[in-house]
Symmetry: C2
């Protein structure tokens, strides 16, 4: 038997049939007319936003659309946050539901000319990833006659310790090295652009609060130093994100209140260079991972070599990360459950495998569960972020997953 | 500097501008009106088929559509092979271009009732993965009044040594354990189904000819033993596939002639139980991986921490396997080249990264290349199998890749 992660508290509380937004898993499957499906409960995401507000008073919150770009979900998030982070022209179009005055930031290496132009026309802030991108953006702005909103994305000289994906402290495709950032600010300002400040993203999926505290402190210090060097006060400092969620056994939920208190202290002590700046934290996964449940039906129950397999109608074509094939070296189990028997004692060890004809398609490896029969629904949790769109949907020609909002 | 795999011979031969099917990479990009794009040269796949014919006289060849389901490509493959292997109702629809009399086999755990019914109506052979699936298939056949074509997929008690994905010799979601296979044959025959024989698939992506030779010999012995036990002569024995292709430095192309000679000997010595059987080998990757090239344009060229990055307009959303995120533990480099400078000396070490805003999106890690500038095309080879459809197309909202046939 191998361990699995903990079911998010909102779904673990009620024994019996799993309910999502007041409806049972069976009712959701019936409403969808088919399985597998993702159900997102925006109330769970809203609770995370509320928690953020209490922990980080005065800090603006931006939602990273890449985590879950389901259009009705993005529209709901627009009610809750002050801005969106987008990573492509496609995400920029989704962000058109942003409220007037809310900020849209466009980050990502390899922005194409058409994407830069579309971002300018939408009034988005382009987070410049390199001197070359700056030159292209300024040329396009000249051509189309727009004063572009440009921020400088900085590849920080610190990394976020313990993060799932480190994006600072090393040679990187993201941002300009800190040593060259002030020069790029001067260039952008001299060119007459609307310089929006800095975007500094050091890593993602960190669960150690001290690591995030240290990174945010270093980020503030870096922004202040760069502002001084550039002799320009940044209107906005985007501190990045990096807040992790507990996917696996022994993962411990991030103490965001501790992070928020430390950031509050650090902001209180900030020097003159950042005195008039606004501060933004950009979150995707932490806001939305826990609000989503993937429901998939058992199609076959079989024995092989003394082991039991539950074969479900979903799989890695919808849940690549849960199958252990997206950025993880060692495959570990996401939390999952038999949807009709939440809280029932585990009485057998089974592997939950998807319907794809490849051994990669394993959603639960030797997990302890109550007994499940053909026709039962299996719930895979932590499915609100990087699920449907971060998976190879067309692989082996199965239908796409249904997505629904609670 | 890190090594990369060898460019397939058909594309490595001509120095200068890369040509695919007689047109240069630039001409393909112009014909597509955009980048990135996949170009598939069916002549390269046809050459693999010819090589197979010489090495395996008398053995039938089935194309596993999952490797490349681009519809015009599947239609072209229909001219070259005796059958298709499909893994879903979606692939079954693609297989409707099969010539009359050609075999369609449907394998995969978790076939749903509607898929089983569709397969029966299409006259496909259903490779039964379990006793439960057999019971469902027979009930559906009864209901719709069809004599179903059913084969028994066997989880062999041998594994394919050195294969990228082992699918035998262990508890498995695929097929019924060898110890229970004869009983399932008896049940299927007694129920009045059209029993089509055995499907035995021990692994994939093997480059060691002796491993495949040993596996095929063991597969034949297993099929003979099961036929004797079941007192039923299998019309067809599907020997699986498993032929690998050289993706990485130091990978050595499979000596298929040696495998074919050994199989010919083994077939010549086969006993009475298999005397009247036909034999099929089912190949996907080996037939088509080398025929495809992914062309992506350099959008930015940047320096960070002393390293040079070429940022391209493609990425892991089209080429998940090349980014090292599909079933590989250690990331290694696929062969890639500057399309306009094939054979030119490598003068610098660069990393080729995709346009996605994630550090996972790396297509070439510190590879030695001729100098490339913004606007140049980068070619990533071995892109004919498990490329466009085995990748998270919607990740980060970029457009899908264009696919074209040479």
């Amino acid at each position: 038997m191998k361990p699995m992660g903990a079911v998010p508290p909102e779904f673990a509380e009620h024994p019996g049939a799993l309910t999502i937004g007041g409806r049972s898993a069976d009712e959701w499957a019936e409403a969808a007319s088919d399985t597998p499906l993702f159900v997102y409960d925006p109330a769970v995401a809203a609770a995370r936003v509320t928690r953020f507000r209490h922990a980080f008073p005065g800090v603006e919150l931006s939602y990273a659309i890449k985590a879950n770009p389901f259009p009705p979900f993005v529209a709901r998030m627009a009610e809750l946050v002050e801005g969106f982070d987008v990573a492509s022209a496609g995400e920029l179009r989704l962000a058109s539901c942003a409220k007037p005055g809310h900020a849209i930031g466009f980050a990502g290496p390899g922005k194409r000319d058409a994407e830069l132009a579309a971002a300018m026309e939408a009034g988005a802030t382009i987070n410049l990833e390199s001197e070359g991108e700056a030159a292209r953006a300024l040329a396009i702005a000249d051509r189309v006659g727009i004063v572009p909103r440009l921020a400088v994305r900085v590849n920080p000289d610190v990394e976020l310790r313990g993060s799932g994906m480190r994006m600072g402290g090393r040679p990187s495709p993201f941002g300009v090295d800190a040593a060259r950032a002030a020069a790029l600010v001067r260039l952008v300002v001299a060119a007459g652009a609307d310089w929006r400040g800095f975007h500094i993203y050091a890593g993602s999926q960190a669960l150690d609060p001290q690591a995030i505290i240290d990174t945010q402190a270093a980020t503030l210090a870096l922004a202040a130093r760069l502002a001084t060097d550039a002799e320009a006060a940044p209107p906005v400092v985007n501190l990045g994100g990096g807040f992790g969620v507990p996917y696996f056994a022994n993962d411990r939920a991030l103490d965001v209140e501790r992070v928020g208190a430390a950031l509050g202290d650090a902001l209180g002590r900030r020097g003159d260079a950042l005195a008039d700046s606004r501060f933004t934290i950009e979150l995707g996964r932490w806001l939305v991972a826990e609000c989503g449940v993937y429901l998939t039906r058992v199609v076959d129950r079989k024995e092989s070599g003394g082991e039991t397999f539950l074969v479900v109608d979903g799989g890695m074509h919808h849940q690549l990360a849960a199958s252990g094939n997206l950025g993880t070296v060692v495959r570990r189990n996401y939390p999952l459950a038999v949807a009709g028997r939440m809280g029932a004692p585990a009485i057998e060890t089974v592997s939950v495998v998807g319907c794809l004809c490849t051994p990669l398609d394993r959603l639960g490896d030797r997990v302890a569960l109550p007994r499940a029969e053909v026709g039962d629904l299996i719930a895979i949790f932590m499915a609100g972020a990087y699920g449907a769109t971060a998976s190879p949907t067309a692989f082996l020609g199965h239908p796409p997953a249904i997505e629904m909002m609670a």
